[in-house]
């Protein structure tokens, strides 16, 4: 993808984040795309003749925050995953107050996998019997969103049940494109950001970076609540303070220095 093939179609003024209202600014673009789908007369310089050019929007490429703006499925809270939708298994941590996807991946395993019956290593005392969440076809998604309100200049209206059983904020303007409800992959999860954040998490926790590692006292309290890992739980000292035992997944200070060399 080099410079001659890139094309700046619209520039949206700041300074505040538009959130769902981005649709208002995308309207000229969608109008153009609709016109291009039905075909426009174009001159082919190599053959020196006119032809009908048709253009199709394949997909959008966006980071996870823009993912909340474009398709209209909010990427915050428990319902953040746009694939799992309401069949999520995330929960809020008792001490950390963060949404957590712990223990929600055994359902993707084959039904006879030993991890599903393991009651010690994952969430204590729980056996996973559910299958993976259903994958919705584009038509099924369309049936869900077709009655939702569209965004106009007057702003957004909160839809009933937002954050409880759905995360829809609007009917996205992309659904106005005639072929959009037959498009299997409409918006991409960005692999670059996923990998970077994944790596940051691993790196911070292994290198024990101060204030960034997700292995603080609250995390250890949550660990005692959800898991059976005695060796990692906070231990009371004689003077009333709690001490955090060193975990086997973090490097010691000397080992961290060795990594840097």
């Amino acid at each position: 993808m080099s410079k001659p093939y890139m094309f700046l179609t619209c520039l949206i003024p700041g300074p505040s984040n538009l959130k769902a209202c981005i649709d208002v600014f995308l309207e000229p673009l969608i109008d153009d795309l609709k016109k291009l789908w039905s075909g426009v007369l174009t001159y082919d310089i190599s053959k020196r003749q006119n032809f009908i050019m048709r253009v199709n929007l394949m997909w959008t490429i966006n980071d996870i925050l823009a993912y909340g703006m474009l398709p209209g499925w909010g990427t915050h809270g428990k319902l953040a995953c746009p694939h799992c939708m309401e069949h999520h298994k995330s929960f809020t941590l008792n001490y950390g107050y963060k949404t957590c996807w712990f223990d929600s991946h055994q359902r993707f395993l084959p039904i006879d996998h030993p991890f599903r019956r393991n009651v010690k290593a994952f969430r204590k005392g729980e056996v996973e019997t559910d299958g993976p969440p259903l994958r919705l076809t584009p038509m099924q998604v369309w049936r869900r969103v077709k009655d939702l309100p569209k965004i106009t200049e007057s702003g957004t209206k909160r839809i009933d049940g937002y954050g409880e059983w759905h995360n829809w904020t609007k009917r996205s303007i992309f659904w106005d494109l005639p072929y959009w409800k037959h498009n299997l992959l409409r918006h991409n999860l960005d692999v670059m950001h996923t990998e970077k954040n994944f790596f940051d998490n691993i790196f911070n926790i292994v290198m024990n970076v101060v204030r960034k590692a997700k292995d603080n006292d609250k995390a250890r309290k949550d660990l005692a609540l959800y898991c059976r890992r005695r060796d990692l739980e906070l231990k009371a000292q004689g003077n009333g303070k709690m001490v955090k035992p060193k975990a086997n997944f973090t490097l010691s200070t000397t080992e961290v220095k060795q990594v840097c060399c």
Partner: protein
């Protein structure tokens, strides 16, 4: 390493304090792809292996030629890898970003190579 493969990672390293900071997205990518198994080799083997497996998962994901069989195999493997992480790390570690790799092979099955579907070309401007 070939010329132009990575930026100068040494600028991020503070040897005296034992810190690495200020890594850009592509530095993270290079670290994840090549250095992770070497850098973290002093971890116990049952912690290191799942980290290397996720490193291989992303490496396969970046391959310029993907075929259906390997993607289906990746789709089977990724829940096992993440479950192995769940056995090691505390619950607070698993934010939404740890969950999303589950869906990446399916998107690759539909959309093809990641090089046409990621944000590197746009983040440069």
């Amino acid at each position: 390493m070939p010329d132009g493969y990575s930026s100068n990672l040494a600028r991020c390293v503070d040897v005296e304090k034992g810190r690495i900071h200020g890594m850009k997205s592509h530095d993270c990518h290079v670290f994840m792809e090549t250095f992770l198994p070497i850098a973290f080799s002093s971890l116990p083997i049952h912690v290191l292996n799942p980290l290397i497996e996720i490193n291989h998962f992303f490496k396969d994901m970046y391959s310029t030629s993907l075929n259906r069989e390997s993607l289906l195999r990746m789709e089977e493997n990724i829940p096992i890898i993440i479950c192995k992480h769940e056995r090691i790390f505390p619950p607070a570690f698993f934010d939404s970003m740890e969950h999303l790799p589950i869906h990446l092979p399916y998107e690759a099955l539909l959309g093809g190579q990641v090089q046409y579907r990621w944000m590197y070309p746009f983040e440069r401007w």
